[in-house]
């Protein structure tokens, strides 16, 4: 059983872990080029802290203490791996540098952005970038990430390990890209963060984004990137987009846990503080006069949010924003949402025509929101039989039981409305 000191030590260690995990990994990885060993060394250092601190007291500079222990562990690992003489001076140099940083009372240099750029490097498979960032920056374990991304824990563990090996063996740099490369490289980082945010939302309907438990972590990462690169408007755009979506969390479910689509949500349940922060970010970004995908998507959310003042959604603005998005993005999700906006402005038939253009896109055949959007527009156009079939597809593809139940209700209501023939 843990005594008072044990509990305090555990609490301190947990606080340091929450606050500094990514910073410590980033610092070690930048100097060793080895993400996996940096993580291993750090987790051994945390284990050492839990056994050492209760007895000898929490150190004045816990981060420095952890860094010093992690450094010793990492040098031991390196020694075991490489026996060649020529590696010794290099190890010594690295050890000295880490030591100097550990000794300093001032903060450990923040290399987290460099670590994110390494994780979202073009040489790393796009599908593993978000999981990699979640693991290295936040210390999430492979099993938790695997569940969120609907992959087996064993496979996720292997993919993460493979990506880390690639970073080490390909010599991927832990650095912030040059000006010329920055937009494209930053886009990959932002896409990874957004993928983490949107994960689990694949089964939500239409423009509405769902909510996995990764959302909070993704927003934290978004804040970090926005604070480290405040002159890049897309970092602000992404954070604004995530905050807008997050603001609606309480309105997304009814008292019985039932799914409430965006159009039926009560704006008074939206979180005003998050919306205000998102709007401020968007305004800041707009002043830089370089629009981009995330700013446009955030602006769409902003046009939905005006309903809290005016009582109605600004669909005309939303249609224009999706027109602009469609020119820079080939995402079928953008195309679906554009069709929904067209239907709102110019009628269901026009929306159906826009959706018909997508019918050949194979990515959509098993994409539930596509079928839900088809069903809704077909129903509004009075094409009951086709709408029922589209609902059937959407129901069969739904993952979220609340969404499934919602779609079933819609389908049933539709059948009820059909006049007997």
């Amino acid at each position: 059983m843990l005594g008072e000191g044990g509990r305090n030590a555990r609490e301190t260690a947990e606080n340091v872990a929450r606050r500094s995990y990514g910073k410590l990994v980033a610092f070690l990885a930048r100097r060793t080029g080895d993400v996996a060993r940096s993580e291993d060394a750090l987790s051994e250092a945390f284990a050492a802290a839990l056994s050492d601190w209760p007895a000898s007291g929490t150190p004045a500079n816990p981060e420095g203490w952890l860094m010093a222990v992690a450094k010793r562990k990492i040098i031991d690992m390196m020694r075991r791996r490489k026996t060649g003489e020529d590696t010794i001076p290099q190890l010594q140099l690295m050890a000295d540098e880490i030591e100097a940083a550990a000794q300093e009372q001032s903060d450990i240099p923040d290399n987290r952005l460099a670590l994110m750029f390494a994780c979202a490097h073009p040489a790393i498979d796009a599908g593993i970038r978000a999981p990699l960032i979640l693991q290295t920056l936040l210390g999430l374990n492979a099993a938790a990430i695997a569940s969120a991304f609907l992959v087996s824990p064993a496979a996720m563990g292997q993919r993460l390990a493979r990506a880390k090996t690639k970073i080490r063996e390909a010599g991927i740099a832990f650095s912030i890209p040059e000006r010329a490369d920055l937009p494209e490289r930053l886009d990959a980082v932002l896409a990874a963060i957004y993928a983490a945010f949107a994960q689990g939302s694949a089964d939500s309907i239409g423009a509405e984004m769902g909510h996995g438990n990764l959302a909070e972590e993704a927003i934290w990462l978004g804040r970090l990137v926005a604070s480290l690169l405040p002159d890049e408007p897309e970092t602000l755009g992404l954070l604004g987009l995530m905050l807008h979506s997050d603001a609606r969390q309480a309105a997304r479910r009814g008292p019985e846990g039932e799914y409430v689509p965006l159009a039926a949500q009560n704006p008074r349940l939206w979180d005003e503080k998050s919306i205000d922060e998102a709007e401020t970010l968007l305004f800041q970004a707009a002043r830089m006069r370089t629009p981009g995908r995330y700013q446009l998507e955030a602006a769409v959310q902003s046009a939905h949010a005006v309903r809290r003042f005016t009582g109605r959604t600004d669909w005309t603005a939303i249609e224009k924003l999706y027109d602009a998005l469609a020119t820079i993005s080939e995402s079928p999700v953008v195309a679906i949402n554009r069709a929904v906006a067209i239907a709102e402005v110019r009628g269901a038939e026009a929306g159906i025509l826009a959706l018909d253009e997508l019918a050949d896109d194979e990515r959509l055949a098993q994409y539930q929101p596509y079928w839900a959007a088809c069903a809704d527009l077909l129903a509004r156009a009075g094409k009951i039989r086709a709408a029922e079939e589209a609902y059937e597809q959407a129901i069969g593809l739904a993952r979220d039981p609340a969404v499934r139940a919602f779609l079933q209700q819609r389908q049933t209501a539709l059948s009820g409305s059909r006049s007997p023939s």
């Binding site: 055949a365 059937e392 597809q393 129901i395 039981p401």
Partner: protein, 115 residues
Amino acid sequence: MKYLLLIYSNEQAFQSMSDEAKQQGLAAYGAYMEALTKAGVLAGSNRLRPVNTASTVRVANGKTQVLDGPYVEAKEQLGGYFLIDVPDLDAALSWAARCPGASHGAVEVRPVWTM
């Protein structure tokens, strides 16, 4: 690759649902089966009768033993299966998550041993 999706759920819970809820539950399975068929991945499926209809047979030391009931008594019972043919485990897991059984019970995903 073929994967067997085994659906485990609480039979009692299903039996005690209202008729309307049962209807909705079965309709969800119907829609799921339809989606599997449209995607061209369905290789077979059956719903099983409740475990009180199960018998378990074992032959040991030349003696045959027949017992009433399922092989394992558990809170959740094997209620049916879908056999699907998909490229990899990721795809199988993705279909398993869409199975209504994953929301009211659990779906075990097992790769089929092909000879």
